[in-house]
């Protein structure tokens, strides 16, 4: 990894990524909420409509990006909060990997769902 060759520290990268994803999420989350609660009301949601949206590749990639950033941002946020409260040692390693595992599952599941809508057979 890059930090082997520079002074770039883990803490700094994560901090920066947390801000960058936050900035990205502001836009996407607002869009997401607006689209699914105001433009289309939540109770009108149906498989086909979702499917229709997902079949546009721009929307599909936006949602995948949304998934990735939100997962990173959320999980990293939780992890950070725990560290701030003094989490350390083995406990910390365990929690770290648990969180990573949970994120992977979440992302895989999200991918599959999106693919199901988009009609991509990979689900």
């Amino acid at each position: 990894m890059a930090e082997r060759y520079s002074s770039f520290q883990q803490g700094g990268t994560m901090w920066l990524l947390q801000r960058i994803t936050a900035a990205f999420l502001i836009v996407v989350l607002a869009f997401h909420f607006f689209l699914l609660h105001f433009v289309h009301h939540a109770d009108e949601v149906s498989f086909l409509m979702s499917s229709g949206r997902m079949e546009t590749w721009t929307y599909y990639s936006l949602m995948i990006l949304f998934l990735l950033t939100a997962t990173f941002h959320g999980v990293n946020g939780v992890y950070n909060a725990l560290i701030n409260q003094g989490l350390s040692g083995t406990k910390r390693t365990v929690i770290k990997w648990t969180l990573i595992l949970a994120s992977i599952i979440l992302i895989v599941q999200g991918f599959r769902t999106a693919n199901a809508w988009a009609g991509i057979p990979l689900y």
């Binding site: 520079s6 520290q9 990268t13």
Partner: protein, 298 residues
């Protein structure tokens, strides 16, 4: 009037019991006896004062945290109430000194300069970290509650263990380092006015640890460098006279695991700092500086 009264009544019996069970030294017995008498005298004096105080309008009520690990009756923390005559311009420290010199000479707190420069008397006054000598009584709501700084081990009464704070301060290499000294013996190493202005506020820290005590993160993560130490690092990292390579080293120090990234911009450090140092601003600037620096290498 004060929470200590029942305990005082118990004390004589306790002292007597001690004499029976273990054979104490003469000194111990005398001390126990003395303690009892002192307590009696104090109770009496306080009762008298309280009466007088009740009659007198211009008196303030002070509730002070008391604890002493080795004195019976003080091992359980309690609050004592003192009534102190108010005089114009009186500070919390003045009131404490009055209470100590008049009612109870065992009331313990650090203080020295009385002018907000030695940093010994940061305390928790009515729920905020304050320098006692710099806090006017007239600005406070009564009764005035005085406690030792939160998030630190209490040594006795209002005195806290400072060692941890000093360690954090020392952890950032808090001394000037430079490779760029001028050649001449009496030649000074120049610094621009702007640069001195930039570091000016950060050099005002008096090591009172009020900021550290107010920070939730420091409370949760004992190893967090804390606002004061990071500010100290800022003071040097931003000093143009130190040179680039040393700045690199400084950034590495503040970027460590328990360094700047721990700060969650709670601002309470900035709010309590008696020297008005914009701590959060300095911490944030260091974060950006660190990121910028890292991007350079990428």
């Amino acid at each position: 009037m004060s929470t200590q009264v029942p305990e005082q009544q118990e004390e004589p019996t306790e002292a007597a019991a001690e004499t029976e069970t273990q054979i104490p030294s003469k000194g111990d017995a005398r001390r126990a006896e003395k303690r009892r008498r002192a307590a009696e005298r104090r109770a009496q004096k306080q009762a008298e004062e309280a009466e007088r105080a009740a009659a007198d309008e211009d008196t303030i009520e002070l509730k002070v945290f008391r604890y002493d690990p080795e004195v019976e009756g003080k091992q359980e923390p309690r609050f004592d109430t003192f009534h102190v005559p108010f005089t114009k311009g009186m500070t919390v420290l003045d009131a404490l000194m009055y209470a100590r010199d008049t009612y109870d000479s065992s009331l313990t707190f650090r203080h020295s300069c009385r002018q907000a420069i030695c940093g010994s008397d940061a305390m928790f006054v009515n729920g905020t970290q304050k320098l006692a000598c710099k806090t006017q009584i007239s600005e406070l709501q009564e009764p005035i509650r005085v406690e030792p700084l939160p998030h630190a081990e209490v040594t006795k009464d209002l005195v806290i263990e400072m060692e941890h704070f000093y360690e954090q301060m020392h952890a950032v290499e808090p001394y000037f380092q430079t490779n760029e000294l001028p050649d001449g013996e009496l030649e000074e190493q120049r610094q621009s006015r702007e640069n001195r202005e930039k570091i000016k506020m950060s050099t005002r820290c008096i090591w009172c640890s009020a900021c550290m005590s107010s920070c939730n993160i420091a409370a949760g993560d004992n190893e967090y460098l804390g606002p004061a130490a990071i500010n100290k690092a800022y003071r040097f990292a931003m000093d143009e006279r130190e040179g680039e390579d040393i700045k690199q080293k400084r950034l590495e120090i503040i970027e460590q695991e328990h360094g700047v990234w721990r700060c969650q911009t709670q601002f309470s450090c900035t709010e309590v700092c008696p020297k008005d140092i914009p701590l959060t601003e300095h911490i944030q600037e260091l974060k950006r500086e660190a990121v910028k620096n890292n991007l350079k290498f990428w």
